[in-house]
């Protein structure tokens, strides 16, 4: 299941919904992404107003309604092809968030832990590089778009089939 929403989510409630009436699940992994107080590291270009030691006040997530849902659904389907999952959930927020706020939730459930751990990591790695979201960080020196990170691309590539 996937959801794209402005509202916050309650991890305990999401787990309860996902596992309601199920007795076949032996392992459940959750990942939560939070807004960090310090700005994302950027390349050293003269245009960058925000450095990684800059405190941010807000992070605004823009997305592409329609394509976002399709992309997240595709990623979840791919995880289900690769691992024997009993249940999974991706919730991604958009709009203006503050440091400490929850951004993204990934839950995977399987009979055994290895599939749940691996699938959760896969889902996060792929949604970071394939789902159409963009982060705008704003601090005292102004607002700036977060740049895509090479190590995120490398993390996602680990899962590409050769």
């Amino acid at each position: 299941m996937i959801r794209v929403q402005a509202e916050d989510f309650d991890i305990a409630k999401e787990i309860a919904k996902l596992t309601d009436g199920r007795t076949d699940i032996g392992a459940l992994v959750t990942f939560t992404g939070l807004v960090r107080e310090f700005a994302t590291k950027r390349g050293q270009t003269p245009f960058n107003k925000i450095s990684s030691d800059t405190k941010i006040n807000t992070m605004t997530l823009e997305h592409y309604p329609g394509m976002t849902e399709k992309a997240l659904t595709n990623i979840e389907e791919e995880a289900n092809k690769r691992w024997p999952l009993d249940a999974s959930l991706i919730v991604h927020r958009y709009g203006e968030l503050a440091p400490g706020d929850q951004i993204v939730l990934v839950i995977t459930a399987s009979a055994h832990r290895q599939a749940a751990f691996e699938a959760a990591e896969f889902l996060v790695d792929w949604l970071k590089t394939k789902a159409p979201f963009w982060k705008l960080e704003a601090g005292e020196k102004g607002a700036e778009w977060v740049e895509a990170r090479v190590d995120d691309d490398q993390a996602a590539q680990r899962w590409e089939k050769t």
């Binding site: 592409y64 399709k70 949604l127 970071k128 789902a131 979201f133 963009w134």
Partner: protein, 83 residues
């Protein structure tokens, strides 16, 4: 043709979408970019660095050589940074 812009591409162009009648010789994404760059300084600035631009045709990410003659919706955006 419905064209969408996101993040700093949207900001440089100054709007989030266009509905354009395209000349017949605009047959793929690269042709469309060349056409858009000629519209104004804002478009030219938005499409200055093509390495920093991704494109989706009908909500699927594709390459610049992709034909667009049968496309419903084209979107330009920077590399994604969600999660």
């Amino acid at each position: 043709m419905k064209i969408l812009y996101f993040a700093w591409i949207r900001q440089r162009i100054g709007k989030s979408s266009d509905d354009l009648a395209l000349p017949e010789d605009v047959k793929n994404v690269q042709h469309l970019i060349d056409h858009l760059k000629g519209l104004s300084a804002g478009y030219a600035a938005a499409f200055q660095d093509l390495d920093a631009i991704k494109v989706a045709v009908n909500q699927e990410q594709v390459g610049f050589e992709t034909p667009i003659t049968a496309a419903q919706e084209i979107a330009f955006f920077p590399p994604v940074t969600g999660g």
